[in-house]
Symmetry: C2
Subunit: 310 residues, 2 copies
């Protein structure tokens, strides 16, 4: 039996997921969640954001969370760094990786961080220098890479302009974000193929949202086009607040199940992953958005079980 090809799941639940939660996820539980995710075999975890507490109260405990987690060898712990102030907090923490972010759409960037796309990029220069000097690695998000709710279609050149800057700054991996779930499979395949060809030196990851139920469809399309790093969120945490019940990040459980089912190796222990989801479910006292947390993995062996018999 040949060795299975690997795909990497980049867990964004504790940051991208929890930042939208109206109820405060207690610091001790955040720490427990991150440790459970690492214990499940996830090797890349975005733990928190060093953003201003007033901007994102849900993550106002970023320093305590980073101080509290048990760092596991072989796991890269990332934090979102929005500005120099956040950079100072991140440098004072044991974060391995700093994640920068900017929108490929001018309007979206203005609404998101109240500055122009160009000013966002300029601001990264000093942050990147300090991070690399301190031996941290850099990840860069390209928000609204596949479409913007305000500007509509986003030209590929707008994405390339950002990737060019990221490359100069020493960003080792850029994550292409479908922030409001506008992408579709052929669009994803075409764009990913062009970018993989244009940026052979830079790692590319895919970050799809499920706002229109296409998060996993687009993730699989990105896989077919050559991407091997996928952002997902435990329990599907991170619904977009604009509409109650609307899905946000793709659920890690379902993403792991998809790639394991097609024969790839995610390195994740599914049962341990469910434990992390169970913690989220208990703390938020809410139904998880992930399907496999309810249905489990498919059972390909004969069994007498009366499992999901419809």
């Amino acid at each position: 039996m040949n060795k299975r090809e690997k795909v990497t799941i980049y867990e964004v639940g504790p940051r991208d997921g929890l930042q939208y939660e109206s109820q405060f996820f207690p610091t001790e539980q955040k720490i427990k969640l991150v440790d459970l995710l690492a214990d499940a075999g996830l090797t890349r975890i975005e733990v928190t954001s060093f953003v201003h507490p007033k901007a994102v109260p849900a993550l106002s405990d970023s320093a305590q969370v980073m101080a509290g987690i048990k760092k596991r060898p072989g796991v890269t712990y990332s934090v979102l760094v929005p500005n120099m102030k956040g950079c100072e907090g991140a440098l004072a923490s044991q974060a391995d990786e700093f994640a920068l972010f900017v929108s490929a759409s001018q309007t979206h960037n203005q609404k998101n961080v109240a500055m122009s796309l160009e000013d966002s990029l300029k601001g990264f220069t000093e942050i990147a220098r300090l991070a690399l000097e301190a031996g941290r690695t850099l990840r860069g998000y390209v928000i609204t890479a596949f479409g913007c709710p305000h500007e509509g279609a986003v030209p590929l050149d707008s994405v390339r302009r950002i990737l060019d800057v990221y490359a100069e700054l020493g960003v080792r991996e850029a994550s292409l974000g479908d922030t409001t779930g506008m992408a579709n499979p052929p669009q994803v395949k075409d764009m990913v193929r062009r970018l993989l060809e244009a940026y052979p030196g830079m790692g590319l990851a895919a970050h799809f949202h499920d706002s229109r139920g296409l998060g996993l469809v687009n993730s699989y399309a990105a896989f077919e086009a050559g991407i091997r790093v996928f952002d997902s969120s435990i329990g599907g945490l991170g619904g977009c607040p604009f509409a109650k019940g609307a899905s946000g990040n793709i659920p890690t459980e379902d993403t792991v199940n998809l790639f394991e089912e097609v024969g790839l190796d995610t390195g994740v222990d599914f049962d341990k992953l469910l434990k992390a989801g169970q913690l989220v479910k208990e703390v938020l006292d809410a139904e998880l958005a992930s399907n496999t947390s309810k249905s489990g993995r498919p059972n390909w062996q004969p069994s007498g079980e009366e499992t999901n018999h419809c």
Copy 2:
């Protein structure tokens, strides 16, 4: 601008969807729902099932529903026909198409209809003869075609054996059902390609369930492999009862959005489709499982709207 290629959505919500609902969906509202679905441009609708009222109380009003709908020219109205008794009811109705069903898995068929796969197939002979004599067309479901929760993997030959019988009976279209959501994209592509090649004369449809969040992933894989008819359910009606909140049929809104986004013509008016979903939401007083019913279609034109800004 060239004419867009067509895909056909086969709406199963009123039957496959409502049969699992614990609360009775009032007859008048069922009739209204079917008429709204036809008004939205759906040309194939599975209206109800002529099953024993004790077996599926939710559809005990099948005769009244079939009598009450306003048949629209160009729309094919189907009904599920489980046995000869159901066939009599279906013949007495204005149903255009009779849908037969059998599991590719012996164990699943036994648990589902308390008879062997062979006895199910034998029972179809007389039903098919009467239906065709009466000028009705035939659809045939192959349940658990992609895997069985009891027997695990399902050999392709088990599916072919059923398609061979369906072909003999004059079934014009077989729908391959992933009844408990076990399928994955490469499996779907491989199986669909083999079956399309082996049965050039028979129409093939895909019927995916979202139990593990892969319903649309597998539908798109089936499309890439050549299938052009897709079963879906308004509002995602038809959750599998084994687990609260687990998804069942793929939502028609999200399926229409997917295929329209990739440039295909479903013939469905999305806004009118939302009206049908709204009725379901009001009658059941429950959140719909469809995502696009909350997010709407992507807006590819520049706009100042503050839509789903995350």
